[in-house]
């Protein structure tokens, strides 16, 4: 007899698979990667916006209203992603987006044999730098690498790389923090 936990996992798998297939059908790997980036952005937005979470969890609001709200808020995203998000909101599963993202990321690796490396820097990467990062990450992870680049001006310099739940923080901020800690200890 399936438990709630197994049911939830199966449902998350279903959402992730559906989303992956829909985005792949829409635009191939580019759309898949674009959708991945958009899901990541939505997760961070939801974390920072408690009101959105409250609305999504509020049973007094009709499911159709929640779906409409999601469609309006995330209208600029990939159409397939917006459709899936609307279904999730309608079914009250919006809070599972984080778990769905993990499964979706794993499925990208399985389906396309690529590893997505999230790269955060202060300045935009050039081609040479992209090649350097891809070579290093591909060597470490043993697969083709797709970079998901983002600019963060709060970084003083350096780079933060994340892939498969692992993170390499080579930012100047972290180095200065380490230096600060070392100075204070001494």
């Amino acid at each position: 007899m399936p438990t709630n936990r197994h049911t939830a996992k199966a449902e998350a798998e279903l959402y992730a698979t559906t989303l992956l297939e829909a985005l792949n059908n829409e635009g191939g790997l580019d759309a898949v990667m674009n959708g991945r980036t958009q899901i990541d952005t939505i997760i961070r937005y939801a974390r920072a916006n408690a009101q959105l979470n409250e609305v999504m969890a509020d049973s007094s609001i009709a499911p159709e209203q929640r779906a409409q709200l999601v469609k309006r808020v995330f209208a600029d995203c990939e159409p397939a992603l917006v459709s899936v998000l609307a279904v999730m909101a309608e079914r009250g599963d919006f809070s599972r987006l984080n778990r769905i993202w993990d499964i979706y990321d794993a499925k990208i690796r399985e389906k396309f044999n690529v590893c997505v490396v999230d790269v955060v820097t202060r300045v935009a990467l050039d081609d040479h730098l992209r090649e350097v990062i891809k070579n290093k990450a591909g060597k470490d992870l043993g697969c083709d690498v797709v970079l998901n680049e983002s600019i963060d001006t709060s970084l003083l310099g350096g780079i933060i790389m994340s892939a498969n739940g692992q993170r390499i923080d080579a930012s100047v901020n972290t180095m200065l923090d380490n230096a600060r800690t070392a100075l204070k200890k001494n």
């Binding site: 300045v123 730098l129 990450a137 310099g157 350096g158 080579a170 230096a179 204070k184």
Partner: protein
């Protein structure tokens, strides 16, 4: 008894006086010369001798026992007084010795009490001194600890402040002075020097 004896003596004396009156001695102008002057006249000597003997006998019979008795009594009294005096002297000497002994005991006892009190005082003084010294040492130690803690806290605060200031300056220098190309060079260097994903 005494009275009777006195009456008897008086009677004897009265008889002697009557006898003297009965046989008056005639006083004549001296007619002797030379050594004859020293030789008593028998007419005077004999009555006087008889009278003397009578008086002597009367006194020996009646007066002397009384006198002897009085002397004996007096002697006895004096002897007893002397004896009592000696006994009193012995007693007083005994009492004096006893007092002296008691005084000596009291002196010894008082000396012992003073010595004990002095020893107790010294002991209490030593205890108080030791306690005061221990408390003072404890206070000094605590004060040293507090000073040391304050010193460490001040140094730590200073270090923290210096570290924060240094990092802030470094942050501003890096953020303001590096160009995009320099940033990219920095990124490349960090990527090459960074650890592996497999190592995490």
């Amino acid at each position: 008894m005494k009275k009777t004896k006195l009456v008897k003596v008086g009677t004897a004396a009265a008889a002697f006086a009557a006898l003297q009156c009965a046989f008056p001695v005639l006083a004549f102008a001296s007619e002797k010369e030379g050594i004859a002057v020293l030789i008593p006249d028998m007419n005077e000597f004999i009555p006087m001798l008889v009278a003397f003997l009578i008086i002597l006998a009367v006194l020996a019979k009646l007066g002397w026992p009384v006198i002897d008795n009085i002397i004996t009594k007096r002697e006895t009294t004096i002897t007893e007084a002397l004896k009592k005096s000696e006994e009193a002297q012995v007693e007083s000497e005994r009492v004096l010795a006893e007092y002296r002994k008691q005084l000596a005991d009291a002196k010894a006892q008082s000396a012992q009490i003073i010595a004990d009190a002095r020893a107790t005082g010294e002991s209490v003084k030593a205890d108080i001194t030791a306690k005061a010294q221990a408390e003072a040492a404890d206070m000094i130690e605590k004060a040293r600890g507090a000073i040391e803690a304050e010193k460490k806290a001040a140094i730590a605060e200073l270090q923290s402040s210096v570290a924060d200031t240094s990092i802030a300056v470094a942050s501003k220098v890096i953020g303001a002075d590096l160009s995009d190309d320099e940033h990219r060079q920095l990124i490349e260097r960090y990527v090459n020097e960074a650890g592996s994903f497999n190592a995490n």
